[in-house]
């Protein structure tokens, strides 16, 4: 089996630069907080060149570098960057996994291991595959180096060896691993501090030095950790097949250093989150499905909402508009201190046009429009109309708008043109003077005057089994002297006259 390892040597720093690309090239430190006494955890090369070191205080670092940028370490950013690294790998190979978190000197690194068997026909060579993987990780804002070897541990060690040279690749041909490993420094295996000191005391500097020592005697004196190092140095780590990851939702989050109140600023921040989410989806050749937005609010509140899409999309502009429309329709109740976006990747829907049917709106555009209309008027007021299965003449329903070919005649036939009703919602109250139970004069906001022509009554009753639903109406079609043609009804339960529609 051939295994590739893509390694990002300083993940917290890379995650921060991924979220704020404008900081690239500037002296930057990551600290445990934003105060002057906060401990420095990560240092960018630019800051390191000015003498800033880890474990110092922010106040001291500022004395060394006046233009220093300080950011608080964000576990959320780090986690999303780690997931993005896995996405980059899954864009190249179906079997991939994140390497277990290392400790000691390599605690800041993140590595992903992926199956590189049989990639030559696709990428011309293993080096081509490694370069493609490095480019894909770089496109997601995670500059890393890639090594390919015959086992996970050797590939990981080789990638570690390259660390610091982003974009570099290294391919170890099968059978050459032992010779390649021998001169490497023992620190590359990441022994804990005590073991490293002991081995140094024994004069062990390289892997070759370690392998020269008797294994049994080493085990008896220094215990299982040294045996693990020996196995690593020999390239004997048991290699199980790499797994195919379970499909999971993609998550992007950001912790804000200042609470954001204005929707415009929040929209700008969410645009950054969305663009990173889309880049990850694109790397996995997926599109964005329904979005889940969770906003952490000042004071401990939480605002969670779902933003539906009619069709999966990778259009950033569309998604930003949908998110902004949702926020405008229902603004958060307090200032926002953290935001997280989640989506499940969906295969990108392709528009299948029909030879015999006119093309309607594109699914992505329709999804955006539906969301915008819902933001304007409310989700319950947008959809396809339907005639309700009810005896009330004014009953109707709304269903989700999913245009289909059903009900479409292949040929438009001639049809008599009917006089339509304009519904009045709610019905308009009318004062009616009757003679022998039939309306004679009407006064209302929509039709007034003497009744010049009339048809009816038609009695309609129903819902008798429920106090809330029962109804009993006498309907009349009336034309009044002002020219109005109205649908008048007498409500037997409420003992009142109403106009619930006008013929137009």
């Amino acid at each position: 089996m051939r295994v590739a390892c893509c390694l990002v040597p300083d993940l917290p720093l890379a995650a921060q630069l991924r979220a704020e690309p404008e900081l690239a090239g500037l002296p930057l430190v990551l600290a445990s907080g934003t105060g002057p006494r906060a401990e420095i955890i990560g240092v960018s090369p630019e800051a390191a060149r000015r003498g800033v070191r880890r474990r110092g205080s922010v106040a001291h670092a500022r004395t060394l570098c006046s233009e220093l940028r300080v950011r608080a370490l964000s576990p959320a950013l780090e986690q999303t960057a780690r997931d993005a690294l896995l996405d980059a790998a899954l864009g190249c190979a179906p079997r991939a996994m994140l390497a277990p978190r290392a400790s000691g000197a390599y605690a800041a690194e993140a590595a992903v291991l992926l199956d590189a068997s049989g990639v030559t026909p696709l990428f011309r060579s293993e080096a081509g595959f490694a370069a493609a993987l490095a480019a894909r990780a770089g496109a997601l804002g995670l500059p890393g180096c890639v090594a390919i070897a015959s086992s996970r541990c050797v590939a990981h060690l080789a990638a570690r060896r390259l660390a610091g040279a982003a974009g570099e690749v290294c391919v170890l041909p099968p059978g050459s691993e032992s010779a390649w490993l021998a001169p490497l420094p023992i620190d590359l295996l990441g022994p804990d501090d005590a073991l490293a000191e002991t081995l140094s005391g024994l004069g062990v500097r390289t892997l070759r030095d370690l392998l020269r020592l008797p294994r049994r005697a080493l085990g008896a004196r220094l215990g299982p950790p040294v045996l693990r190092l020996v196995a690593l140095a020999r390239g004997e780590e048991p290699d199980l097949p790499l797994p195919v990851p379970e499909p999971s939702s993609l998550f992007e989050a950001i912790d804000l250093e200042f609470a954001v109140e204005r929707l415009e600023a929040l929209g700008f921040l969410l645009q950054g989150l969305l663009s990173r989410l889309l880049a990850r989806l694109e790397a996995r050749r997926l599109a964005c499905g329904e979005l889940g937005l969770v906003l952490s609010l000042e004071g401990g509140g939480r605002d969670a909402r779902r933003i539906g899409l009619a069709a999966p999309t990778l259009d950033l502009r569309v998604l930003v508009r949908l998110v902004c429309a949702s926020l405008e329709a229902r603004p958060p109740s307090a200032a926002v201190v953290a935001a997280a976006l989640e989506t499940e990747g969906r295969p990108l829907a392709l528009d299948q046009l029909d030879l015999f049917r006119p093309a309607g709106p594109a699914p992505a555009a329709l999804g955006r429009t539906l969301a915008e209309l819902a933001a304007l008027s409310g989700r319950e007021r947008v959809g396809a109309p339907e005639v309700a299965d009810d005896h009330r003449p004014d009953a109707f329903g709304l269903t989700p708008f999913l245009p289909s070919n059903r009900g479409c005649a292949s040929r438009v036939e001639d049809q008599a043109h009917v006089l339509a009703v304009r519904a009045l919602r709610p019905p308009v109250a009318a004062e009616v003077r009757t003679q022998h139970g039939r309306p004679e004069w009407i006064r209302s906001a929509v039709a007034s005057g003497r009744v010049v022509q009339i048809a009816g009554p038609w009695r309609t009753t129903g819902g008798w089994w429920s106090r809330e639903q029962r109804f009993a109406y006498d309907y009349f079609d009336v034309q009044t002297s002002d020219g109005s043609l109205a649908r008048l009804r007498f409500d037997h339960l409420e003992r009142r006259w109403q106009i619930d529609g006008v013929y137009d």
Binding site: Q415, V418, A486, Y503
Partner: protein
């Protein structure tokens, strides 16, 4: 360079020819040939003939008239033809007056209608803009209700421009003409008579007069009379 037209006999024509000579050869009588627009027919032969085949796509058309004049019936006839031809239509309903039962009786395929029940006419206006941006709708019907809101001329121009970028027929229903010069066509309806016949009496038919009061390219001020059938009793 186009020479000015030769002076025909009438004094007015001679005066026009004189003016053209004075203003220079850059000006000439006439204009660009009328653009052949795709049309959405209503299925009402008299009206389609009047409109030159139906409502123009990519243009704004107004239908105005008092209550009970038949404008909603006309709009439903248009929606019916479009949806039965397999197209998708939208209704930005500023009056919340769309009646699904009437639409179904008129032959509208309700599945292919996107209905936005706006809470107020201004919402419907914004909704119509969004619907035009989506493209792909054959007809966007904007119902401003009664009385319609006062809409700035700039808004009508924006709507007309949005429609021009699509192949959508934008149709505006209102009590009185509002879109002015932004409209390609304007129809004004006037009720003629309602026929209640039979024993017991039924609203059998309704006659209305449809006048083409504005046409951007070509003559207007023509009218036809249309008969609409009453719906079955409630």
């Amino acid at each position: 360079m186009v020479p000015p037209p030769s002076a025909p006999g009438s004094p007015a024509d001679r005066r026009v020819a004189e003016l053209l000579r004075e203003l220079g050869p850059q000006l000439r009588l006439g204009g660009l040939p009328a653009e052949a627009l795709a049309r959405c027919p209503t299925g009402i032969p008299e009206l389609d003939r009047l409109l030159g085949g139906g409502f123009p796509r990519g243009r704004l058309t107004e239908i105005a008239g008092p209550g009970s004049c038949g404008r909603t019936s006309l709009a439903l006839a248009l929606l019916s033809q479009a949806t039965r031809a397999g197209e998708v239509v939208a209704v930005a309903d500023g009056a919340d007056a769309f009646d699904p039962a009437s639409a179904q009786a008129a032959g509208v395929v309700l599945e292919r209608v996107l209905w936005m029940r706006a809470r107020q006419p201004r919402e419907a206006l914004r909704g119509a803009e969004r619907l035009l941006e989506a493209r792909g709708f054959a007809v966007v019907l904007l119902d401003l209700g009664a009385p319609g809101p006062r809409v700035a001329a700039a808004s009508w121009l924006r709507l007309a421009q949005a429609a021009a970028a699509t192949s959508t027929a934008l149709v505006v229903l209102s009590l009185a003409r509002a879109a002015g010069a932004a409209a390609e066509l304007a129809l004004e309806l006037a009720p003629l008579r309602a026929c209640f016949t039979g024993t017991p009496a039924l609203l059998e038919a309704f006659d209305t007069e449809i006048a083409l009061v504005r046409r951007r390219a070509g003559p207007a001020a023509r009218a036809v009379s249309v008969r609409l059938r009453g719906q079955p009793a409630a």
